[in-house]
């Protein structure tokens, strides 16, 4: 795998590579939202270009997977440069190598991944169902409970997950009355978690039946850093991955708006 990524050609030490990889993993783990909601199939490898999506139907009174449709995995990437002067400074001074550029590139990739996952889920959603006023105690729980009722009626069971904007999350978290916290009540019925997502509009909340048979994310190449080569004395890298969202049962998504 490293051969394809040209990592051995980069004129940086294994320790520097380890720090770059650790930065990428840390930033990705902190910022990814979709992967906290949906299960992952893979990583299957960079060479895998398509993933099957199976439908299911009854045949002779038995449930069976129907012929799959194949969908392409998308490659998303962002690049960063390490300047030779900064590499020299890291070796010759106690300051170390600033990996902010690595973090920025990783943030761009994670934002794009979450865009694919969350927008993909939204595009399949039926609804919307009423959102209510999330500044009033009891209304968020009522809205979520009604959303869950719709999902259950469509045959979608637990776990459920909620994706909402940071503002909506703040509104939910600030509601408390007589020692009862609205967030705790919502979390008691949404076992897949309540997940703030920066790109979510403030007037929408997404409720998802998060079991892997409803929807998942197929990873070809998980987020990784490759070496692109030098530009003069400086060195360019690419943070990238390949993935596709599979929504197997569109009825697993409900928008509250």
């Amino acid at each position: 795998m490293s051969d394809y990524l040209l990592r051995e050609d980069a004129p940086i030490s294994p320790e520097t590579w380890a720090k770059i990889d650790e930065m990428v993993v840390t930033v990705a783990r902190k910022n990814l939202v979709g992967r906290k909601v949906l299960e992952i199939a893979g990583p299957l490898g960079w060479g895998v270009g398509q993933a099957p999506i199976f439908g299911f139907g009854l045949s002779d009174d038995a449930w069976v997977a129907e012929a799959p449709q194949y969908t392409d995995l998308k490659e998303i990437a962002a690049e960063f440069t390490l300047k030779a002067q900064h590499l020299a400074m890291a070796e010759q001074t106690p300051y170390g190598l600033d990996l902010g550029a690595v973090a920025m590139a990783t943030l761009k990739v994670t934002a794009e991944e979450d865009g694919i996952v969350v927008d993909g889920l939204k595009s399949k959603a039926k609804g919307p169902m009423p959102l209510g006023d999330w500044t009033v105690m009891g209304e968020p729980f009522a809205a979520v409970a009604q959303g869950i009722a719709r999902l259950r009626k469509a045959g979608i069971d637990e776990p459920y997950a909620l994706i909402l904007s940071p503002l909506k999350y703040a509104q939910l978290a600030s509601l408390m009355q007589h020692g009862r916290r609205e967030l705790a009540m919502v979390e008691s019925v949404v076992k897949g978690g309540v997940h703030p997502y920066v790109a979510m509009p403030d007037d929408q909340v997404l409720l998802v039946g998060a079991a892997s048979w409803n929807a998942d994310i197929v990873l070809g190449q998980d987020i990784v850093t490759a070496y692109l080569g030098n530009e003069g004395l400086d060195h360019r890298f690419r943070v990238f991955e390949t993935l596709v969202l599979r929504v197997k049962r569109p009825e697993c998504v409900c928008v509250l708006a």
Binding site: M1, S2, L5, R7, E8, A10, I12, P14, E15, W17, A18, D21, E22, V25, A28, R29, L32, R35, K36, V37, L38, E39, I40, P43, P159, K191, G192, G193, A210, D222, I223, V224, T225
Partner: protein, 316 residues
């Protein structure tokens, strides 16, 4: 003559190691009881004996041993376990008396006499515990098997993987500390070994509380007298176990257990940083001493394998 003494002291080390593991298992099986706390205190005294013997062997130019004979299988009632511990102490007492007779070196004789005194006291304490625990039934894991309670097979597997790792690194790091002549790195490595002993205790106690057995088995150990080689091995194993704990976290349901494993995992990340610092210092020192760049035959020539982020789902 030194070689003969070293051989006897290595036998003593094996005995101390056996006692430490056996007593800790008995203590964990007793749960949160006054006797368990006292048995753990005895185990800590055996750890001091283990350390003193290792230091004596290294001073004589020898190689401490990390081997030990098998320990008690926890199938008996607690009072019988205490009698077995008393028997183990008696075996140690007989061995130390024999070795004192056979060794001329006055410093070593003083050391063994000091240890012998402790073992005599321990034997008395175990006899007392046997009386105090008389009538108590056999350990909880037997009950767990009978009632069907106890952890899931997968949870027991995860916790025992942790116990195996922690036990392995305790032995490996102690050996490295014993064999490092420089005080600063030796103390740092020993501090980390003590932290790993804490991890071992936490995980073993979780298993016993849940009605399962903590298997004190270790994996392959890297035991050399080359500090740079040892530190590279220590960094590698810390990175491997950090990854293992991170991958296992999503499988844990209990909030307290998740917090515990996260705490252990974060300690392992700190250890990697300390080992890396010690390695950099050791390489610099060696290059200064030899006036040649250090040979990195063992160091991988290319970049490390990139880690995978994978799933971040936490179903709890």
């Amino acid at each position: 003559m030194s070689e003969a003494i070293i051989a006897l002291l290595r036998e003593d080390m094996k005995g101390e190691h056996q006692a430490i593991v056996q007593y800790l298992r008995h203590a964990y099986a007793l749960g949160e009881t006054p006797e368990a706390a006292e048995i753990e205190a005895i185990a800590r005294e055996e750890m001091r004996h283990f350390h003193w013997l290792a230091d004596a062997i290294v001073e004589l130019g020898g190689d401490p041993t990390m081997e030990r004979p098998p320990v008690d299988e926890l199938q008996d009632a607690p009072s019988v376990q205490m009698l077995k511990d008393a028997d183990l102490e008696q075996h140690g007492i007989d061995q130390y008396r024999d070795h004192i007779e056979r060794i001329d070196d006055p410093k070593i004789r003083r050391l063994l006499s000091r240890i012998l005194h402790d073992e005599l006291v321990h034997k008395g304490e175990f006899a007392k515990f046997a009386e105090e625990l008389d009538g108590q039934p056999a350990p909880a894991q037997a009950e767990g098997e009978a009632t069907g309670q106890g952890p899931s097979a997968r949870l027991a597997e995860i916790l025992n993987q942790g116990v195996r790792h922690e036990y392995s690194v305790v032995l490996q790091y102690l050996y490295h500390a014993f064999m490092t002549p420089d005080k600063e790195p030796a103390e740092e490595i020993e501090d980390i070994a003590i932290n790993e002993m804490q991890h071992l205790g936490w995980l073993a106690e979780e298993l016993f509380e849940k009605g399962a057995d903590a298997k004190f088995e270790h994996g392959e150990l890297v035991l050399s007298d080359d500090l740079i080689r040892n530190l590279k091995a220590d960094i590698a194993i810390e990175r491997e176990v950090t990854e293992d704990y991170s991958e296992q976290l999503p499988e844990l349901d209990e909030e307290g257990l998740v917090a515990l494993v996260e705490r252990i995992r974060d300690h392992e990340i700190d250890h990697t940083t300390v080992f890396q610092y010690l390695l950099d210092e050791a390489k610099e020192k060696r290059s200064t001493e030899t006036a040649e760049p250090p040979k990195d035959d063992d160091e991988p020539k290319g970049p490390p394998k990139p880690p995978s982020i994978g799933s971040l789902v936490s179903r709890g």
